[in-house]
Symmetry: C2
Subunit: 119 residues, 2 copies
């Protein structure tokens, strides 16, 4: 996945105390399969997520060994559930299990406090 | 920072429903300063965190452009607060602001549900 610098501004513009905002932490290990198809899917999913109700932002990083972490931010848990069951996203999730990931873990979490540097 | 494969087992061994576990999402952008010193600090902080009460696990990833995400997992918010104010960790945080990070954002969040593949 790509580091979405365009979304950092959305996060940076939020108040320091984000009580009630939700994060989806997607920790994963990529296979070597179909890197072009994977890249296209990741770009498409990031763009599609950004059009969904309650979307706040997205960021991701990947290590040279194929492990990675992606975090998306949402206004409510209902927004997260709606995105999870989006038809095109469901297809991508199926490909994820058959082709693109050795393993992944997803945590849904409610943010209680946040702080940044520079403040 | 390093991808901590030794901690994945701690996460993998937890129940699928992790209600009450907490995550600290540390999103950051590295400077080019002192890569050896940074690497030594990151390794030391990861090892020190693992000895703290309530520590559950740690994982991280970094992009070639220097942006990265690290997530640590803890039993309680009090454990997170204790780690944040650990004396050696405070020194590392000071170096982080003066030397190692252009910017960072930290979110403390309570995990409400989790799921994994393979299940």
């Amino acid at each position: 996945m790509l580091a979405a610098s365009n979304n950092r501004s959305a996060l940076a513009g939020r108040p320091a105390y984000d009580c009630g905002m939700f994060a989806v932490i997607f920790s994963n290990a990529r296979t070597d399969n179909d890197p072009e198809g994977y890249g296209a899917m990741a770009t498409r999913m990031e763009a599609l997520a950004a059009t969904q109700p309650g979307y706040v932002g997205f960021e991701s990083a990947r290590n040279p060994d194929g492990t990675g972490i992606a975090v998306s931010y949402w206004e409510t848990e209902a927004d997260i559930e709606a995105w999870k069951t989006n038809a095109e996203h469901l297809l991508a999730q199926q490909h994820g299990q058959t082709d693109w990931y050795h393993r992944y873990t997803t945590h849904v979490a409610e943010i209680s406090r946040s702080y940044s540097f520079p403040t």
